[in-house]
Amino acid sequence: MKEISIHFTVNGKKVSLNVPSRKRLLDVLREDLGLTGTKEGCDVGECGACTVVMNGRAVHSCLVLAAQADGAEILTVEGLAQNGELYPLQKNFLEYGAVQCGFCIPGMLMSSYALIQENPHPGEEEIKEAIAGNLCRCTGYKQIIQAVEATVKR
């Protein structure tokens, strides 16, 4: 099996490992690092459930080969809470009832997080654009948008 060694930072921790070159970032996060918060949905870039932040930008971890993440800084949903306290975005998702089954939520959070990092005061249209690549089959999106809006208003 063709292997490649990669070194990257995941949620602030340096990680080095050897992985088969066919593995995607999604596989390495979930299988090798046990970070199963990142979800596997469609595998083809349509649902956004696998979204993580790579070097400051939201990406589909199902469309990035693990080898391509060599040297990168990765943030997953597990890295949002600090010292046991939920990140404000997460608190608002709870407060606004933006979570039903929860499957899309890690992706929604990471897409919203990337948006806020780049643009601390996005308007409704910008929020919608940021999560346009994330499908949710439960909430109807409204509460998710409200939760993001509440986060950026404070």
């Binding site: 099996m1 063709k2 490649i4 088969p20 070159s21 066919r22 593995k23 995607r24 595998d43 083809v44 870039g45 349509e46 956004g48 979204t51 930008r57 939201a58 990406v59 589909h60 199902c62 469309l63 990035v64 080969l65 080898a67 391509q68 060599d70 897409s111 990337a114 948006l115 919608k128 654009e129 940021a130 346009a132 690549g133 994330n134």
Partner: protein, 287 residues
């Protein structure tokens, strides 16, 4: 499933070209991977022979956007996000920025490259119609040398271009646009994010009072590949932009699309839409 593959990461362009030349047909450059990886996943025939991926996404020689010769050079690994954010492209080539902003989703645009979009050459490649009306030229490199070609010649048929296995698109050049051109890009898809385009149109017009001095028209998704309409353009030059003539032009656009594609199950829906949208675009641009 992603098949067993070998992954190579060259440190510079020269190394990348050496790898492509050494591995030939079984190697493929990968940048954003937004076509190749889903293609692997659905076991697409187009990607079945790939044994080796050469990662070009971080090659310094092809990740920049630069201004030169009055126009803009866009590196072969520049992403759509880079394009959307670039002030010069937004100012001088707004239809490209517009098309780029509507491609896929944020996550896709953060990875997918302009060159990858037209090298893949899907009929619905959104960047192609704007690039065609801007008379984009591509620079193709291999160990054998470098060649330059208008994009319209480089694209052959759906999923086929003139790119040889040992070659790579290193740059796209957008030449300076003569003063006075105004244009618009139109896209129709089924969903806001991640929609495969059903119809795209890019139109640039230069008016002299009420007369169409020059015009460039390109479509995507409704033609086998993104393409210009030279006969239509020739016919419109020098004509007065009155409603009757613009309507006539829109009818002819529909007829030419039909000639190029043949009758499809979707024609009954798409053609009237294309004609109507094209007419309205012309009305807005020419007024």
């Amino acid at each position: 499933m992603i098949p067993e593959i070998e992954y190579l990461r060259p440190g510079n362009l020269q190394e990348a070209l050496q790898m492509l030349s050494e591995y030939g047909e079984t190697a493929r450059p990968i940048a954003g991977g937004t076509d190749i990886l889903p293609g692997f996943h659905i076991n697409s025939r187009r990607f079945r022979d790939i044994k080796t991926l050469v990662d070009i996404s971080n090659l310094p020689e092809i990740t920049a956007i630069r201004e030169a010769n009055g126009g803009v050079y866009i590196g072969g690994a520049v992403t759509f996000t880079d394009i959307v954010k670039h002030p010069l492209i937004r100012e001088k080539y707004p239809m490209l920025a517009d098309a780029a902003a509507q491609i896929g989703s944020v996550q896709i645009r953060n990875r997918a490259t302009l060159a990858g979009n037209f090298v893949n050459n899907a009929p619905c490649a959104d960047s192609v119609p704007p690039l065609l009306v801007y008379d984009a030229r591509v620079t193709v490199r291999s160990l054998r040398g470098e060649r330059h070609q208008p994009l319209g010649e480089f694209l052959l048929k759906p999923y086929r271009t003139q790119l040889q296995p040992d070659e790579m698109v290193t740059e796209v050049f957008l030449p300076p646009l003569p003063a006075g051109f105004r244009g618009e890009f139109y896209k129709l898809g089924r969903r806001r994010g991640v929609a495969i385009s059903r119809i795209t149109l890019a139109v640039l017009v230069k008016m002299d009072q009420r007369v169409i001095e020059d015009i460039r028209i390109a479509s995507g998704a409704v033609t086998p590949i993104g393409a210009r309409f030279p006969e239509l353009e020739a016919q419109a030059r020098g004509k007065t932009a009155e409603a009757d003539f613009l309507k006539e032009l829109a009818i002819q656009l529909g007829e030419q699309i039909l000639q190029r594609t043949g009758l499809r199950w979707s024609s009954a829906y798409k053609l009237p839409v294309v004609q109507q949208v094209f007419y309205q675009l012309l009305r807005r641009i020419c007024q």
